[in-house]
């Protein structure tokens, strides 16, 4: 059954090629993408079943034996993450198809969206399956190159500005990764992870520490660990909602995955555990403090994303089976919940015309379904029992208490504090955007000083609230973006008849194809709670497998290394 292993990479790439050729047939393009990603879910599910039953699966690409050829390895960790990411990418694809349909799709950027999105999926899968460091690098580059395009979709002014930060930071991380690869190769003569596992152990301590630190630095940037996280809240919120959602769900988790591999397979029992714990604590606290200061929901969620990376790093840093298993569970939970919240924010923006908490209000009254879709994952993120976030945090805290000592206890305290602050931040969103009555209509001159507009005409009075970026309306070319944030907004208006008691007329009916994928993700999040028992079994088994190292190495080298 090893032929299944390359499929999560190959199928989306093939789909990307096809959708690129189908530029003139939007219907076929949607079908191809949907079929490719549905296949992905099926394949990933089969891989998970197979690896749980029979240990890691290995494929030597082109039949070349391991140290020379490219190896793809699917163990339980990879398979579990593949399942979650496949499900999430499929839901986000449906959402963006729904959004594209509702907005009427035409123009060039949309023809780019589907292929790029599929390449991103392939890159994520490649990173999860890579059996050697260089292939991991290629996987990273694949998903990064796709993410550059998605983040700057339509090349509007604000996206170019935000994209610049993202691209430049990612590029530096890539260069550092290349340098680390060069150093690892120079000191061990191999890049195959199974072979490295043995050879790195034999290296002198100082060289080992240097390589360890370099790799952690690289993956720390990708995962947005605290001192290396400043790029994230700046760049993510400007992208279209589905793009931000899939980035928030998957890209940082690929970094976390790489950290898990480094800490278990390559450098087990390394000397950086304590440093990682301090970093985890700082990531949690600083991240959530940033979230509290935000007035925009997207930015707030970006900061909670950074903050909750700390939980996963915490579990990895503990280095015990319980810690790792908690971290793996938390990754699965967080991918689902964070993606859901960003998708819901996209719906909020559509319904309420803004993501700024200053302008929203009373959504619970006008859009009760939307309120439910927000409320459940939000509580899960904050860790309210019995939702999956609570279970993940509980698992991590138990692991921390079991280890004992000053730092683990500090981390347990830090995670409690972070959970409470997350609850505070997320309830602020709830109170302001959903619960309170509508805020009074803003005088036009305060909203947009450049164009005071007579407030008698509803449509025009809405204009200043929304035409934050007049540049775009001046360039008709950009109005054809697939996920048209700027251009769509004028139709979705927060305040209808200005002067009177404002009611959000906005878009009274959210497209079903956007609501259902979001609802499906909420259901998956709840399912993670109900299926937490089996899921914890899988994550514990994956953690055991990681800590033993032998199954992985033996799967790649059936006859022993060298």
């Amino acid at each position: 059954m090893t032929y299944l292993v390359p499929l999560p990479v190959v199928v989306p790439l093939l789909g990307a090629a096809l959708t690129l050729g189908l530029a003139r047939h939007p219907g076929w393009r949607r079908t191809v993408s949907t079929v490719a990603l549905t296949l992905n879910v099926v394949v990933a599910g089969m891989l998970l079943a197979l690896t749980t039953a029979g240990g890691p699966l290995v494929v030597n690409i082109g039949g070349w034996p391991p140290p020379l050829g490219i190896v793809l390895v699917a163990d339980q960790l990879s398979a579990l993450l593949l399942v979650v990411s496949a499900a999430v990418t499929l839901c986000v694809l449906m959402y963006s198809i729904g959004e594209g349909r509702a907005d009427g799709e035409s123009g060039t950027p949309l023809t780019i969206y589907h292929p790029t999105y599929l390449v991103l999926t392939a890159g994520v899968a490649n990173a999860f399956l890579a059996g050697d460091l260089f292939n991991l690098f290629v996987g990273f580059e694949l998903l990064l190159a796709a993410s550059y395009v998605l983040l700057t979709l339509g090349a509007t002014r604000n996206r170019i500005r935000a994209g610049t930060t993202y691209v430049v930071v990612s590029l530096q991380a890539s260069i550092l990764f290349l340098v680390s690869i060069g150093l690892v190769y120079a000191s061990t003569g191999t890049l195959n992870m199974a072979q490295l596992a043995g050879r790195l152990d034999a290296l002198p301590d100082n060289i080992r520490l240097l390589l360890h630190l370099m790799l952690l630095l690289v993956f720390g940037i990708k995962a947005a660990m605290f001192p290396l996280s400043a790029w994230l809240p700046d760049s993510y919120p400007t992208a279209p909602a589905p793009v931000t959602a899939v980035f928030a769900g998957l890209l940082t988790k690929v970094g976390v995955y790489a950290i898990i591999r480094t800490e278990t397979l390559l450098f087990p029992g390394g000397r950086l555990g304590n440093m990682l714990m301090v970093v985890a604590l700082l990531t949690m606290i600083v991240g959530i403090l940033g979230a509290i200061a935000q007035a925009d929901i997207k930015r707030l969620l970006s900061f909670t994303l950074v903050s909750h990376i700390g939980f996963m790093v915490f579990g990895v840093a503990l280095g015990t089976a319980a810690g790792l298993s908690g971290a793996i569970f938390y990754v699965a939970h967080h991918i689902t919940v964070q993606t859901t919240l960003f998708l819901v924010t996209g719906l909020i923006e559509r319904r309420g015309g803004s993501t700024s908490m200053d302008r929203l209000g009373a959504l619970a009254r006008f859009a009760p379904l939307l309120a439910i879709l927000f409320f459940v994952p939000a509580l899960s993120l904050a860790g309210i029992p019995p939702l999956s976030g609570f279970l993940g945090k509980l698992g991590l805290m138990q692991a921390g208490v079991a280890v004992g000592g000053t730092l683990p206890w500090a981390l347990v305290a830090g995670s409690v504090l972070t959970s409470l602050l997350t609850l505070y931040a997320i309830m602020r969103v709830w109170n302001l955007a959903f619960w309170r009555p509508l805020p009074p209509v803003r005088p036009a001159h305060l909203v947009h000083s450049a164009q005071p507009v007579p407030s008698a005409q509803p449509v025009q009075s809405a204009q200043p609230v929304l035409s934050a970026q007049p540049v775009h309306s001046a360039h008709p070319v950009h109005s054809a973006q697939p996920v048209r944030r700027e251009t769509r907004i004028p139709t979705s208006v927060l305040v209808g008849d200005a002067g009177a008691a404002g009611r959000p007329i906005g878009m009274p009916h959210l497209p079903a194809l956007m609501v259902w994928p979001t609802a499906a993700l909420v259901v998956i999040g709840v399912a993670l709670t109900i299926l937490a028992g089996p899921l914890f079994d899988v994550s514990s088994a994956a953690a055991d497998e990681l800590l033993q190292r032998v199954p992985y190495v033996e799967a790649v080298y059936p006859g022993g290394v060298e």
């Binding site: 020379l68 170019i160 890539s174 450049a450």
Partner: protein, 159 residues
């Protein structure tokens, strides 16, 4: 293993210049810096492999061959660097189309929070008024960053 000193010096120089350029605000210089860093990293990988004759069976003896793996990796890395540089150049051009320069700007929300913090320190005015002014600045900044830069720099005057 043996290390080629000249190659090491070249790598060091490339890295030093690359880092200096990447720290600049102009995107064009960042691109140049990135290219230098990329070349430095590629040379580093190349020097990690063993030097020697062409790694072709029949041309040189197995023990004299250079390491083909390092070269294969560098080829991949070069292709990736090339593609990404093209993207960066396009971004610099787009940035220039919008703003007339290719400087990397600060995040508007960050600047807004900074000005708000600065104002909170100096005065204790009403909160509502402050946030309205903030909004105004942010809106204006989104519409026209160059003009808004002035507003934000002398936030006191706006208030």
């Amino acid at each position: 293993m043996d290390v080629d000193l000249i190659l090491m010096i070249i790598i060091a120089v490339l890295f030093a210049c690359g880092v200096a350029l990447v720290l600049e605000r102009s995107l064009t210089r960042v691109v140049l810096g990135f290219l230098m860093l990329g070349n430095g990293a590629n040379l580093l990988i190349l020097s990690a492999g063993r030097p020697g004759g062409p790694p072709i069976v029949g041309v040189s003896a197995a023990e004299d061959m250079s390491d083909p793996l390092a070269q294969a990796m560098v080829l991949t890395a070069i292709v990736i660097t090339l593609g990404v540089s093209a993207f960066l150049v396009a971004m610099a051009y787009r940035s220039w189309q919008y703003a007339g320069n290719d400087e990397v700007r600060d995040d508007i929300e960050d600047r807004r929070i900074m000005t708000r913090a600065a104002r909170d320190l100096t005065t204790e005015g009403s909160d509502a008024e402050a946030s309205d002014t903030d909004d105004q600045i942010a809106r204006a900044a989104l519409a026209d960053p160059a003009a808004a830069g002035l507003h934000i720099d002398d936030g006191g005057a706006v208030r």
